[in-house]
Protein backbone atom coordinates (compact mmCIF):
# COMPACT_ATOMS: atom_id res chain seq x y z
CA UNK A 1 0.00 0.00 0.00
CA UNK A 2 1.43 3.32 -0.98
CA UNK A 3 1.61 6.16 1.52
CA UNK A 4 -0.97 8.41 -0.05
CA UNK A 5 -3.46 5.57 -0.26
CA UNK A 6 -3.23 4.87 3.45
CA UNK A 7 -4.97 8.01 4.58
CA UNK A 8 -8.63 7.24 3.72
CA UNK A 9 -8.22 3.83 5.29
CA UNK A 10 -6.85 5.19 8.53
CA UNK A 11 -9.50 7.88 8.56
CA UNK A 12 -12.26 5.34 8.16
CA UNK A 13 -10.87 2.97 10.75
CA UNK A 14 -10.14 5.63 13.34
CA UNK A 15 -13.59 7.18 12.91
CA UNK A 16 -15.13 3.78 13.53
CA UNK A 17 -12.90 3.26 16.52
CA UNK A 18 -13.78 6.57 18.12
CA UNK A 19 -17.48 6.02 17.48
CA UNK A 20 -17.39 2.60 19.10
CA UNK A 21 -15.37 3.88 22.04
CA UNK A 22 -17.90 6.64 22.66
CA UNK A 23 -20.78 4.20 22.32
CA UNK A 24 -19.10 1.78 24.71
CA UNK A 25 -18.68 4.59 27.19
CA UNK A 26 -22.37 5.37 26.90
CA UNK A 27 -23.24 1.71 27.35
CA UNK A 28 -21.17 1.51 30.54
CA UNK A 29 -22.83 4.67 31.76
CA UNK A 30 -26.23 3.04 31.24
CA UNK A 31 -25.03 0.05 33.21
CA UNK A 32 -24.08 2.47 35.99
CA UNK A 33 -27.28 4.50 35.94
CA UNK A 34 -29.84 1.71 35.72
CA UNK A 35 -29.72 0.21 39.22
CA UNK A 36 -29.62 3.70 40.74
CA UNK A 37 -32.36 5.25 38.63
CA UNK A 38 -34.98 2.57 38.67
CA UNK A 39 -37.80 3.23 41.14
CA UNK A 40 -37.65 1.13 44.28
CA UNK A 41 -33.85 1.16 44.10
CA UNK A 42 -33.07 -2.51 43.59
CA UNK A 43 -29.72 -2.17 45.31
CA UNK A 44 -31.12 -1.06 48.63
CA UNK A 45 -33.78 -3.74 48.40
CA UNK A 46 -31.01 -6.24 47.93
CA UNK A 47 -29.09 -4.86 50.91
CA UNK A 48 -32.18 -5.08 53.08
CA UNK A 49 -32.69 -8.68 52.01
CA UNK A 50 -29.13 -9.49 52.93
CA UNK A 51 -29.66 -8.03 56.35
CA UNK A 52 -32.86 -9.92 56.87
CA UNK A 53 -31.03 -13.15 56.21
CA UNK A 54 -28.46 -11.95 58.72
CA UNK A 55 -28.99 -14.73 61.26
CA UNK A 56 -27.64 -17.42 58.92
CA UNK A 57 -24.05 -16.28 58.94
CA UNK A 58 -23.80 -12.76 60.31
CA UNK A 59 -20.06 -12.58 59.73
CA UNK A 60 -20.30 -13.36 56.01
CA UNK A 61 -23.37 -11.19 55.46
CA UNK A 62 -21.68 -8.25 57.05
CA UNK A 63 -18.66 -8.52 54.80
CA UNK A 64 -20.86 -8.94 51.71
CA UNK A 65 -22.68 -5.82 52.76
CA UNK A 66 -19.45 -3.95 53.29
CA UNK A 67 -18.13 -4.92 49.86
CA UNK A 68 -21.38 -3.93 48.21
CA UNK A 69 -21.39 -0.56 49.95
CA UNK A 70 -17.84 0.02 48.84
CA UNK A 71 -18.19 -1.13 45.29
CA UNK A 72 -21.43 0.59 44.58
CA UNK A 73 -20.25 3.53 46.61
CA UNK A 74 -23.67 4.01 48.08
CA UNK A 75 -23.68 6.99 50.37
CA UNK A 76 -21.13 8.86 48.27
CA UNK A 77 -22.32 11.60 45.90
CA UNK A 78 -23.34 10.22 42.48
CA UNK A 79 -20.45 11.75 40.53
CA UNK A 80 -17.91 10.16 42.80
CA UNK A 81 -19.71 6.86 42.39
CA UNK A 82 -19.59 7.34 38.62
CA UNK A 83 -15.91 8.18 38.41
CA UNK A 84 -15.15 5.26 40.70
CA UNK A 85 -17.22 2.97 38.56
CA UNK A 86 -15.64 3.99 35.28
CA UNK A 87 -12.06 3.84 36.54
CA UNK A 88 -12.60 0.40 38.01
CA UNK A 89 -14.33 -0.78 34.83
CA UNK A 90 -11.33 0.27 32.76
CA UNK A 91 -8.98 -1.40 35.22
CA UNK A 92 -10.90 -4.60 34.73
CA UNK A 93 -12.20 -4.62 38.30
CA UNK A 94 -15.83 -5.53 37.84
CA UNK A 95 -16.70 -6.00 41.48
CA UNK A 96 -17.36 -8.93 43.76
CA UNK A 97 -20.04 -11.52 43.25
CA UNK A 98 -22.72 -11.85 45.91
CA UNK A 99 -23.84 -15.39 45.20
CA UNK A 100 -20.27 -16.72 45.00
CA UNK A 101 -18.79 -14.38 47.60
CA UNK A 102 -15.94 -13.48 47.82
CA UNK A 103 -15.06 -14.36 44.24
CA UNK A 104 -14.42 -11.49 41.87
CA UNK A 105 -16.96 -11.37 39.06
CA UNK A 106 -14.18 -11.26 36.50
CA UNK A 107 -12.88 -14.58 37.81
CA UNK A 108 -16.33 -16.07 37.33
CA UNK A 109 -16.73 -14.69 33.81
CA UNK A 110 -13.26 -15.50 32.50
CA UNK A 111 -13.66 -19.30 32.47
CA UNK A 112 -17.12 -19.27 30.81
CA UNK A 113 -16.40 -16.63 28.16
CA UNK A 114 -14.38 -18.96 25.87
CA UNK A 115 -17.34 -21.35 25.72
CA UNK A 116 -19.60 -18.60 24.45
CA UNK A 117 -17.03 -17.46 21.92
CA UNK A 118 -16.41 -21.00 20.70
CA UNK A 119 -20.13 -21.47 20.24
CA UNK A 120 -20.92 -18.11 18.73
CA UNK A 121 -18.08 -17.21 16.38
CA UNK A 122 -17.89 -20.35 14.22
CA UNK A 123 -21.66 -20.64 14.05
CA UNK A 124 -22.40 -17.09 12.96
CA UNK A 125 -19.58 -17.17 10.42
CA UNK A 126 -20.80 -20.49 9.05
CA UNK A 127 -24.37 -19.15 8.87
CA UNK A 128 -23.11 -16.00 7.16
CA UNK A 129 -21.22 -17.95 4.50
CA UNK A 130 -23.93 -20.52 3.79
CA UNK A 131 -26.76 -17.99 3.94
CA UNK A 132 -25.08 -15.51 1.65
CA UNK A 133 -24.15 -18.18 -0.86
CA UNK A 134 -27.68 -19.57 -0.93
CA UNK A 135 -29.16 -16.10 -1.25
CA UNK A 136 -26.76 -15.15 -4.02
CA UNK A 137 -27.56 -18.28 -6.03
CA UNK A 138 -31.30 -17.71 -5.53
CA UNK A 139 -31.07 -14.07 -6.59
CA UNK A 140 -28.92 -14.91 -9.59
CA UNK A 141 -31.48 -17.45 -10.75
CA UNK A 142 -34.38 -15.18 -9.95
CA UNK A 143 -37.81 -16.65 -10.57
CA UNK A 144 -36.49 -20.21 -10.88
CA UNK A 145 -37.58 -23.10 -8.70
CA UNK A 146 -34.30 -22.84 -6.76
CA UNK A 147 -35.06 -19.21 -6.07
CA UNK A 148 -38.60 -19.76 -4.87
CA UNK A 149 -37.63 -22.71 -2.74
CA UNK A 150 -34.67 -20.91 -1.16
CA UNK A 151 -36.70 -17.78 -0.53
CA UNK A 152 -39.62 -19.49 1.16
CA UNK A 153 -37.35 -21.80 3.11
CA UNK A 154 -35.28 -18.83 4.29
CA UNK A 155 -38.33 -16.78 5.18
CA UNK A 156 -39.61 -19.47 7.51
CA UNK A 157 -36.26 -20.56 8.88
CA UNK A 158 -35.26 -16.96 9.62
CA UNK A 159 -38.26 -16.68 11.91
CA UNK A 160 -37.40 -19.74 13.98
CA UNK A 161 -35.74 -18.49 17.14
CA UNK A 162 -32.37 -20.17 17.83
CA UNK A 163 -33.58 -21.50 21.13
CA UNK A 164 -36.80 -23.07 19.90
CA UNK A 165 -34.95 -24.78 17.09
CA UNK A 166 -32.56 -25.93 19.79
CA UNK A 167 -35.47 -27.47 21.70
CA UNK A 168 -36.69 -29.26 18.57
CA UNK A 169 -33.21 -30.58 17.85
CA UNK A 170 -32.78 -31.82 21.40
CA UNK A 171 -36.18 -33.48 21.31
CA UNK A 172 -35.72 -35.23 17.96
CA UNK A 173 -32.00 -35.96 17.67
CA UNK A 174 -31.22 -36.47 21.32
CA UNK A 175 -34.31 -37.55 23.26
CA UNK A 176 -35.98 -39.61 20.51
CA UNK A 177 -33.14 -40.80 18.28
CA UNK A 178 -30.24 -40.70 20.79
CA UNK A 179 -27.81 -39.52 18.12
CA UNK A 180 -26.39 -36.52 19.93
CA UNK A 181 -26.15 -35.51 23.57
CA UNK A 182 -28.82 -33.00 24.46
CA UNK A 183 -27.06 -30.90 27.08
CA UNK A 184 -23.83 -29.60 28.44
CA UNK A 185 -20.56 -28.67 26.81
CA UNK A 186 -18.94 -32.04 27.56
CA UNK A 187 -19.81 -35.32 29.22
CA UNK A 188 -20.58 -35.11 32.90
CA UNK A 189 -17.72 -36.23 35.07
CA UNK A 190 -14.95 -35.36 32.61
CA UNK A 191 -12.59 -32.55 33.40
CA UNK A 192 -11.78 -30.04 30.66
CA UNK A 193 -8.29 -30.69 29.34
CA UNK A 194 -6.34 -30.46 26.12
CA UNK A 195 -6.64 -34.11 25.24
CA UNK A 196 -7.96 -35.55 22.01
CA UNK A 197 -10.59 -37.48 23.94
CA UNK A 198 -11.92 -34.38 25.59
CA UNK A 199 -11.90 -32.35 22.38
CA UNK A 200 -13.86 -35.05 20.55
CA UNK A 201 -16.32 -35.24 23.41
CA UNK A 202 -16.66 -31.45 23.29
CA UNK A 203 -17.28 -31.46 19.55
CA UNK A 204 -19.91 -34.14 20.00
CA UNK A 205 -21.75 -31.90 22.45
CA UNK A 206 -21.10 -28.90 20.24
CA UNK A 207 -23.04 -30.12 17.21
CA UNK A 208 -26.62 -29.45 18.30
CA UNK A 209 -26.23 -25.93 19.71
CA UNK A 210 -24.02 -25.09 16.74
CA UNK A 211 -26.65 -26.35 14.29
CA UNK A 212 -29.47 -24.52 16.00
CA UNK A 213 -27.66 -21.21 15.63
CA UNK A 214 -26.43 -21.87 12.08
CA UNK A 215 -29.77 -23.00 10.71
CA UNK A 216 -31.85 -20.22 12.17
CA UNK A 217 -29.33 -17.49 11.37
CA UNK A 218 -28.68 -18.38 7.75
CA UNK A 219 -32.21 -17.57 6.58
CA UNK A 220 -31.86 -13.88 7.30
CA UNK A 221 -28.58 -13.65 5.39
CA UNK A 222 -30.04 -15.52 2.44
CA UNK A 223 -33.02 -13.17 2.21
CA UNK A 224 -30.85 -10.07 2.41
CA UNK A 225 -28.24 -11.20 -0.09
CA UNK A 226 -30.91 -12.36 -2.52
CA UNK A 227 -32.35 -8.86 -2.68
CA UNK A 228 -28.89 -7.28 -2.97
CA UNK A 229 -28.04 -9.63 -5.83
CA UNK A 230 -31.31 -8.90 -7.63
CA UNK A 231 -30.55 -5.19 -7.45
CA UNK A 232 -27.06 -5.87 -8.67
CA UNK A 233 -28.29 -7.95 -11.65
CA UNK A 234 -29.35 -4.78 -13.42
CA UNK A 235 -26.16 -2.94 -12.63
CA UNK A 236 -24.42 -1.25 -15.52
CA UNK A 237 -21.21 -3.20 -15.04
CA UNK A 238 -23.14 -6.47 -15.32
CA UNK A 239 -24.75 -5.52 -18.62
CA UNK A 240 -21.48 -4.22 -20.01
CA UNK A 241 -19.56 -7.27 -18.85
CA UNK A 242 -22.07 -9.61 -20.44
CA UNK A 243 -21.87 -7.81 -23.76
CA UNK A 244 -18.09 -8.06 -23.68
CA UNK A 245 -18.61 -11.80 -23.51
CA UNK A 246 -17.95 -12.47 -19.83
CA UNK A 247 -18.93 -15.99 -18.83
CA UNK A 248 -21.92 -16.41 -16.57
CA UNK A 249 -19.56 -17.74 -13.91
CA UNK A 250 -17.48 -14.58 -13.99
CA UNK A 251 -20.56 -12.34 -13.94
CA UNK A 252 -21.81 -14.25 -10.92
CA UNK A 253 -18.50 -13.79 -9.15
CA UNK A 254 -18.69 -10.01 -9.79
CA UNK A 255 -22.23 -9.79 -8.48
CA UNK A 256 -21.40 -12.00 -5.53
CA UNK A 257 -18.43 -9.91 -4.57
CA UNK A 258 -20.33 -6.64 -4.70
CA UNK A 259 -23.40 -7.95 -2.90
CA UNK A 260 -21.42 -9.58 -0.15
CA UNK A 261 -19.54 -6.42 0.79
CA UNK A 262 -22.50 -4.66 2.43
CA UNK A 263 -23.23 -7.92 4.22
CA UNK A 264 -19.85 -7.67 5.96
CA UNK A 265 -21.03 -4.52 7.71
CA UNK A 266 -24.33 -6.30 8.23
CA UNK A 267 -22.40 -8.95 10.12
CA UNK A 268 -21.00 -6.30 12.44
CA UNK A 269 -24.45 -4.95 13.18
CA UNK A 270 -25.96 -8.38 13.75
CA UNK A 271 -23.44 -9.43 16.39
CA UNK A 272 -25.37 -8.04 19.34
CA UNK A 273 -28.57 -9.84 18.39
CA UNK A 274 -26.68 -13.03 17.64
CA UNK A 275 -25.04 -12.89 21.06
CA UNK A 276 -28.41 -12.42 22.74
CA UNK A 277 -29.76 -15.45 20.89
CA UNK A 278 -26.71 -17.51 21.76
CA UNK A 279 -27.06 -16.70 25.46
CA UNK A 280 -30.57 -18.14 25.43
CA UNK A 281 -29.43 -21.12 23.39
CA UNK A 282 -26.85 -21.82 26.09
CA UNK A 283 -29.58 -21.84 28.69
CA UNK A 284 -31.61 -24.34 26.65
CA UNK A 285 -28.59 -26.60 26.23
CA UNK A 286 -27.20 -26.11 29.75
CA UNK A 287 -24.09 -25.07 27.88
CA UNK A 288 -21.40 -23.88 30.30
CA UNK A 289 -21.07 -20.41 28.76
CA UNK A 290 -21.84 -16.83 29.70
CA UNK A 291 -25.56 -17.25 29.06
CA UNK A 292 -25.77 -19.96 31.64
CA UNK A 293 -23.79 -17.86 34.12
CA UNK A 294 -26.04 -14.90 33.43
CA UNK A 295 -29.10 -17.03 33.99
CA UNK A 296 -27.75 -18.09 37.38
CA UNK A 297 -26.84 -14.51 38.25
CA UNK A 298 -30.34 -13.38 37.30
CA UNK A 299 -32.06 -15.97 39.42
CA UNK A 300 -29.96 -15.08 42.49
CA UNK A 301 -30.17 -11.32 41.78
CA UNK A 302 -26.38 -11.14 41.89
CA UNK A 303 -26.25 -7.55 40.60
CA UNK A 304 -22.47 -7.12 40.56
CA UNK A 305 -22.14 -10.29 38.51
CA UNK A 306 -24.92 -9.21 36.14
CA UNK A 307 -23.25 -5.83 35.68
CA UNK A 308 -19.89 -7.45 35.09
CA UNK A 309 -21.27 -9.81 32.49
CA UNK A 310 -22.84 -6.93 30.62
CA UNK A 311 -19.76 -4.79 30.63
CA UNK A 312 -17.77 -7.70 29.23
CA UNK A 313 -20.39 -8.76 26.70
CA UNK A 314 -21.08 -5.30 25.34
CA UNK A 315 -17.35 -4.68 25.20
CA UNK A 316 -16.81 -7.90 23.24
CA UNK A 317 -19.60 -7.00 20.82
CA UNK A 318 -17.94 -3.64 20.18
CA UNK A 319 -14.54 -5.17 19.81
CA UNK A 320 -15.87 -7.70 17.30
CA UNK A 321 -17.79 -4.91 15.59
CA UNK A 322 -14.59 -2.99 15.18
CA UNK A 323 -12.68 -6.02 13.88
CA UNK A 324 -15.36 -6.70 11.27
CA UNK A 325 -15.34 -3.08 10.15
CA UNK A 326 -11.56 -3.20 9.99
CA UNK A 327 -11.70 -6.24 7.73
CA UNK A 328 -14.37 -4.54 5.65
CA UNK A 329 -12.18 -1.50 5.15
CA UNK A 330 -9.37 -3.82 4.07
CA UNK A 331 -11.38 -5.69 1.46
CA UNK A 332 -13.47 -2.91 -0.05
CA UNK A 333 -11.17 -0.82 -2.22
CA UNK A 334 -13.67 2.03 -2.22
CA UNK A 335 -13.03 2.51 1.47
CA UNK A 336 -9.40 1.48 1.46
CA UNK A 337 -8.52 4.05 -1.18
CA UNK A 338 -11.29 6.56 -0.55
CA UNK A 339 -13.98 7.04 -3.12
CA UNK A 340 -13.28 10.28 -4.92
CA UNK A 341 -16.60 10.93 -6.62
CA UNK A 342 -19.57 9.28 -8.20
CA UNK A 343 -21.78 6.80 -6.44
Amino acid sequence: MKGYALRPFLKYVSRKFIFLLVTYFIAITIVFILPRAIPGNPLSTLLRQIFQQGQANPELIRSVHKTLMEEFGLGKPWYEQYIDFITRAFKGDLGTSISSYPKKTLDLIAPVMPWTLILLIPSIITAWIIGNTLGAIAGFKRGSFTDKFTLNFSLIVSQIPYYWLGMLLIFTLSVKLHIFPGQGGYSQGTIPAFTLKFILDMLYHYILPFLSIVISALGGWAIGTRVLVIYELDADYVNFGELLGLKEKTVFSYIFRNSILPQVTGLALSLGGALGGALITEIIFNYPGTGYLLFRALSTLDYPLIQGIFIILIGSVYLANFLVDFVYALIDPRIRLGQSEGS
Partner: protein
Amino acid sequence: MWLAMFRPLFKSKKFLVSILVFIFIVLLGLVGPIVYPVDPTGYAGPFERPPSREFPLGTDTYGGDLLAKVLNGTRTSLYIGFLTAVISMSIGIIIGPISAIKGGIVDEVLMSFTNIVLTIPNILLAILIATYLKVRSAEVIALLLGVLGWPWFARAVRSQLLSLINREYVKLSRMAGYSDLRLAFEDLIPGIATYAFMSFILFINGGILGEAGLSLIGLGPTKGVSLGLVLQWAVLMEAVRRGIWWWFVPPGVIIVALTSSLLMITTAMDEVFNPRLREK
Protein backbone atom coordinates in the same frame (compact mmCIF):
# COMPACT_ATOMS: atom_id res chain seq x y z
CA MET B 1 -57.40 4.71 -5.32
CA TRP B 2 -56.19 2.66 -2.36
CA LEU B 3 -58.26 -0.26 -3.47
CA ALA B 4 -56.86 -0.17 -6.98
CA MET B 5 -53.38 0.07 -5.52
CA PHE B 6 -53.80 -3.06 -3.43
CA ARG B 7 -55.63 -5.14 -5.99
CA PRO B 8 -52.47 -6.67 -7.50
CA LEU B 9 -51.61 -7.93 -4.01
CA PHE B 10 -54.54 -10.28 -4.03
CA LYS B 11 -53.22 -11.92 -7.15
CA SER B 12 -50.12 -13.01 -5.26
CA LYS B 13 -50.52 -16.54 -3.96
CA LYS B 14 -47.85 -15.95 -1.35
CA PHE B 15 -49.73 -12.94 -0.03
CA LEU B 16 -53.05 -14.79 0.15
CA VAL B 17 -51.66 -17.82 1.95
CA SER B 18 -49.74 -15.78 4.47
CA ILE B 19 -52.56 -13.37 5.22
CA LEU B 20 -54.87 -16.34 5.81
CA VAL B 21 -52.40 -17.92 8.23
CA PHE B 22 -52.01 -14.60 9.98
CA ILE B 23 -55.77 -14.03 10.29
CA PHE B 24 -56.21 -17.56 11.59
CA ILE B 25 -53.69 -16.99 14.37
CA VAL B 26 -55.14 -13.60 15.24
CA LEU B 27 -58.54 -15.27 15.55
CA LEU B 28 -56.98 -17.93 17.77
CA GLY B 29 -55.74 -15.22 20.07
CA LEU B 30 -58.82 -13.01 20.02
CA VAL B 31 -61.68 -15.48 19.83
CA GLY B 32 -59.95 -18.60 21.16
CA PRO B 33 -60.07 -17.66 24.86
CA ILE B 34 -63.78 -16.86 24.51
CA VAL B 35 -64.66 -20.11 22.78
CA TYR B 36 -62.44 -22.10 25.12
CA PRO B 37 -62.99 -20.29 28.43
CA VAL B 38 -60.57 -22.20 30.65
CA ASP B 39 -58.46 -20.27 33.15
CA PRO B 40 -54.91 -20.35 31.73
CA THR B 41 -53.38 -19.90 35.20
CA GLY B 42 -55.59 -22.46 36.95
CA TYR B 43 -54.60 -25.95 38.01
CA ALA B 44 -57.44 -27.74 36.35
CA GLY B 45 -56.36 -31.26 35.65
CA PRO B 46 -53.93 -34.11 36.07
CA PHE B 47 -50.19 -33.54 35.58
CA GLU B 48 -48.31 -33.73 32.29
CA ARG B 49 -51.02 -35.47 30.30
CA PRO B 50 -50.54 -35.74 26.53
CA PRO B 51 -53.26 -34.25 24.32
CA SER B 52 -56.62 -35.93 24.79
CA ARG B 53 -60.24 -35.14 24.16
CA GLU B 54 -60.50 -33.47 27.54
CA PHE B 55 -57.26 -31.48 27.19
CA PRO B 56 -56.69 -30.90 23.47
CA LEU B 57 -53.09 -29.80 24.01
CA GLY B 58 -52.45 -31.75 27.18
CA THR B 59 -51.42 -30.39 30.57
CA ASP B 60 -48.20 -29.17 32.18
CA THR B 61 -46.38 -30.10 35.39
CA TYR B 62 -48.90 -28.23 37.53
CA GLY B 63 -51.89 -29.61 35.69
CA GLY B 64 -52.43 -26.36 33.79
CA ASP B 65 -54.45 -26.64 30.58
CA LEU B 66 -51.95 -25.97 27.77
CA LEU B 67 -54.54 -25.11 25.14
CA ALA B 68 -55.85 -22.34 27.38
CA LYS B 69 -52.28 -21.19 27.97
CA VAL B 70 -51.43 -21.18 24.27
CA LEU B 71 -54.63 -19.32 23.28
CA ASN B 72 -54.20 -16.67 25.95
CA GLY B 73 -50.45 -16.58 25.32
CA THR B 74 -51.07 -15.91 21.64
CA ARG B 75 -53.28 -13.01 22.63
CA THR B 76 -50.60 -11.52 24.93
CA SER B 77 -47.81 -12.05 22.41
CA LEU B 78 -49.84 -10.37 19.66
CA TYR B 79 -50.61 -7.52 22.02
CA ILE B 80 -46.95 -7.09 22.95
CA GLY B 81 -45.92 -7.31 19.30
CA PHE B 82 -48.46 -4.74 18.25
CA LEU B 83 -47.63 -2.36 21.08
CA THR B 84 -43.90 -2.69 20.41
CA ALA B 85 -44.54 -1.82 16.79
CA VAL B 86 -46.62 1.23 17.70
CA ILE B 87 -43.88 2.50 20.00
CA SER B 88 -40.94 1.88 17.66
CA MET B 89 -42.88 3.25 14.75
CA SER B 90 -43.85 6.44 16.57
CA ILE B 91 -40.27 7.18 17.53
CA GLY B 92 -38.91 6.36 14.08
CA ILE B 93 -41.57 8.32 12.27
CA ILE B 94 -40.73 11.37 14.34
CA ILE B 95 -36.94 11.18 14.26
CA GLY B 96 -36.50 10.10 10.63
CA PRO B 97 -38.50 12.90 9.00
CA ILE B 98 -37.26 15.63 11.35
CA SER B 99 -33.73 14.60 10.54
CA ALA B 100 -34.36 14.54 6.81
CA ILE B 101 -36.38 17.75 6.56
CA LYS B 102 -34.41 19.91 8.98
CA GLY B 103 -31.01 18.69 7.87
CA GLY B 104 -27.83 20.35 9.13
CA ILE B 105 -26.94 20.12 12.79
CA VAL B 106 -30.33 18.69 13.79
CA ASP B 107 -29.80 15.89 11.31
CA GLU B 108 -26.31 15.25 12.58
CA VAL B 109 -27.27 15.11 16.24
CA LEU B 110 -30.31 12.91 15.64
CA MET B 111 -28.40 10.53 13.42
CA SER B 112 -25.51 10.16 15.86
CA PHE B 113 -28.05 9.37 18.56
CA THR B 114 -29.76 6.89 16.24
CA ASN B 115 -26.47 5.22 15.38
CA ILE B 116 -25.56 4.90 19.03
CA VAL B 117 -28.85 3.21 19.89
CA LEU B 118 -28.42 1.05 16.80
CA THR B 119 -24.98 -0.14 17.86
CA ILE B 120 -25.85 -0.84 21.47
CA PRO B 121 -26.80 -4.52 21.41
CA ASN B 122 -30.47 -4.01 22.19
CA ILE B 123 -31.29 -7.52 23.37
CA LEU B 124 -28.53 -7.28 25.95
CA LEU B 125 -29.73 -3.88 27.05
CA ALA B 126 -33.32 -5.11 27.27
CA ILE B 127 -32.15 -7.97 29.46
CA LEU B 128 -30.20 -5.58 31.66
CA ILE B 129 -33.09 -3.15 32.11
CA ALA B 130 -35.59 -5.93 32.70
CA THR B 131 -33.31 -7.27 35.44
CA TYR B 132 -33.93 -4.25 37.60
CA LEU B 133 -37.68 -4.17 37.09
CA LYS B 134 -39.51 -6.09 39.78
CA VAL B 135 -42.88 -5.86 38.12
CA ARG B 136 -42.98 -6.33 34.37
CA SER B 137 -46.39 -6.04 32.77
CA ALA B 138 -46.92 -6.82 29.09
CA GLU B 139 -46.87 -3.07 28.47
CA VAL B 140 -43.50 -2.66 30.16
CA ILE B 141 -42.02 -5.41 28.01
CA ALA B 142 -43.42 -3.78 24.88
CA LEU B 143 -42.10 -0.38 25.97
CA LEU B 144 -38.66 -1.86 26.55
CA LEU B 145 -38.54 -3.58 23.16
CA GLY B 146 -40.16 -0.65 21.37
CA VAL B 147 -37.79 1.96 22.76
CA LEU B 148 -34.77 -0.07 21.67
CA GLY B 149 -36.02 -1.19 18.26
CA TRP B 150 -36.57 1.92 16.17
CA PRO B 151 -33.14 3.06 14.90
CA TRP B 152 -32.97 1.09 11.62
CA PHE B 153 -36.41 2.34 10.72
CA ALA B 154 -35.58 5.98 11.46
CA ARG B 155 -32.46 5.66 9.34
CA ALA B 156 -34.29 4.08 6.44
CA VAL B 157 -37.09 6.67 6.58
CA ARG B 158 -34.54 9.44 6.61
CA SER B 159 -32.68 8.18 3.58
CA GLN B 160 -35.89 7.49 1.66
CA LEU B 161 -37.13 10.96 2.46
CA LEU B 162 -33.86 12.51 1.41
CA SER B 163 -34.19 10.95 -2.01
CA LEU B 164 -37.81 12.11 -2.20
CA ILE B 165 -36.99 15.63 -1.09
CA ASN B 166 -34.65 16.01 -3.99
CA ARG B 167 -37.42 15.21 -6.42
CA GLU B 168 -39.10 17.90 -8.42
CA TYR B 169 -42.55 18.04 -6.89
CA VAL B 170 -41.22 18.37 -3.39
CA LYS B 171 -38.89 21.15 -4.43
CA LEU B 172 -41.91 22.88 -5.93
CA SER B 173 -43.82 22.61 -2.65
CA ARG B 174 -40.85 24.10 -0.86
CA MET B 175 -40.66 26.97 -3.30
CA ALA B 176 -44.37 27.47 -2.90
CA GLY B 177 -43.60 28.15 0.74
CA TYR B 178 -45.27 25.20 2.40
CA SER B 179 -44.24 24.65 5.99
CA ASP B 180 -42.10 21.69 6.93
CA LEU B 181 -45.01 20.00 8.64
CA ARG B 182 -47.32 20.40 5.69
CA LEU B 183 -44.54 19.18 3.44
CA ALA B 184 -44.14 16.11 5.62
CA PHE B 185 -47.81 15.27 5.60
CA GLU B 186 -48.79 16.08 2.07
CA ASP B 187 -45.80 15.14 0.00
CA LEU B 188 -43.50 12.95 1.98
CA ILE B 189 -45.51 10.60 4.17
CA PRO B 190 -47.49 9.16 1.24
CA GLY B 191 -44.19 8.51 -0.49
CA ILE B 192 -43.04 6.19 2.28
CA ALA B 193 -46.40 4.77 3.31
CA THR B 194 -45.92 1.24 2.00
CA TYR B 195 -42.42 1.09 3.40
CA ALA B 196 -43.70 2.22 6.78
CA PHE B 197 -46.46 -0.34 6.69
CA MET B 198 -43.99 -3.14 5.97
CA SER B 199 -41.71 -1.92 8.74
CA PHE B 200 -44.64 -1.94 11.14
CA ILE B 201 -45.10 -5.62 10.38
CA LEU B 202 -41.43 -6.31 11.00
CA PHE B 203 -41.63 -4.46 14.32
CA ILE B 204 -44.51 -6.72 15.35
CA ASN B 205 -42.21 -9.66 14.65
CA GLY B 206 -39.46 -8.04 16.68
CA GLY B 207 -41.84 -7.62 19.59
CA ILE B 208 -43.09 -11.20 19.49
CA LEU B 209 -39.62 -12.69 19.22
CA GLY B 210 -38.20 -10.25 21.76
CA GLU B 211 -40.84 -11.18 24.32
CA ALA B 212 -40.08 -14.87 23.83
CA GLY B 213 -36.36 -14.24 24.24
CA LEU B 214 -36.77 -12.18 27.40
CA SER B 215 -39.16 -14.74 28.87
CA LEU B 216 -36.79 -17.60 28.23
CA ILE B 217 -34.02 -15.90 30.11
CA GLY B 218 -36.46 -15.39 32.98
CA LEU B 219 -37.31 -11.75 32.35
CA GLY B 220 -40.69 -11.99 30.68
CA PRO B 221 -43.96 -10.50 31.92
CA THR B 222 -44.38 -11.13 35.65
CA LYS B 223 -48.05 -11.88 35.38
CA GLY B 224 -50.38 -13.41 32.83
CA VAL B 225 -49.42 -15.90 30.14
CA SER B 226 -47.49 -15.31 26.95
CA LEU B 227 -46.06 -17.70 24.40
CA GLY B 228 -42.61 -16.93 25.77
CA LEU B 229 -43.67 -17.74 29.33
CA VAL B 230 -45.12 -21.09 28.24
CA LEU B 231 -41.78 -21.88 26.64
CA GLN B 232 -39.87 -20.70 29.69
CA TRP B 233 -41.76 -23.03 32.00
CA ALA B 234 -41.26 -25.85 29.57
CA VAL B 235 -37.52 -25.24 29.77
CA LEU B 236 -37.49 -24.85 33.55
CA MET B 237 -39.40 -28.10 33.96
CA GLU B 238 -37.07 -29.89 31.53
CA ALA B 239 -40.05 -30.66 29.28
CA VAL B 240 -37.76 -31.04 26.27
CA ARG B 241 -35.47 -33.64 27.76
CA ARG B 242 -38.37 -35.46 29.33
CA GLY B 243 -40.13 -35.70 25.98
CA ILE B 244 -43.20 -33.60 26.87
CA TRP B 245 -43.45 -32.28 23.30
CA TRP B 246 -47.03 -30.95 23.66
CA TRP B 247 -45.68 -28.36 26.04
CA PHE B 248 -42.98 -26.67 23.95
CA VAL B 249 -43.98 -27.48 20.36
CA PRO B 250 -47.34 -25.62 20.04
CA PRO B 251 -46.16 -22.19 21.33
CA GLY B 252 -43.10 -22.38 19.06
CA VAL B 253 -45.21 -23.36 16.07
CA ILE B 254 -47.47 -20.39 16.68
CA ILE B 255 -44.54 -17.99 17.02
CA VAL B 256 -42.93 -19.25 13.83
CA ALA B 257 -46.20 -19.35 11.88
CA LEU B 258 -47.11 -15.88 13.07
CA THR B 259 -43.80 -14.19 12.39
CA SER B 260 -43.08 -15.96 9.13
CA SER B 261 -46.56 -15.28 7.76
CA LEU B 262 -46.06 -11.61 8.61
CA LEU B 263 -42.65 -11.62 6.98
CA MET B 264 -44.09 -13.28 3.89
CA ILE B 265 -46.74 -10.58 3.72
CA THR B 266 -44.02 -7.96 3.59
CA THR B 267 -42.01 -9.76 0.93
CA ALA B 268 -45.14 -10.31 -1.16
CA MET B 269 -45.86 -6.59 -0.87
CA ASP B 270 -42.29 -5.80 -1.77
CA GLU B 271 -42.54 -7.93 -4.89
CA VAL B 272 -45.76 -6.20 -5.92
CA PHE B 273 -44.80 -2.63 -5.14
CA ASN B 274 -41.09 -2.68 -5.78
CA PRO B 275 -40.62 -2.99 -9.51
CA ARG B 276 -37.01 -4.11 -9.27
CA LEU B 277 -37.93 -7.20 -7.30
CA ARG B 278 -40.91 -8.03 -9.47
CA GLU B 279 -40.46 -10.96 -11.76
CA LYS B 280 -40.47 -9.59 -15.23
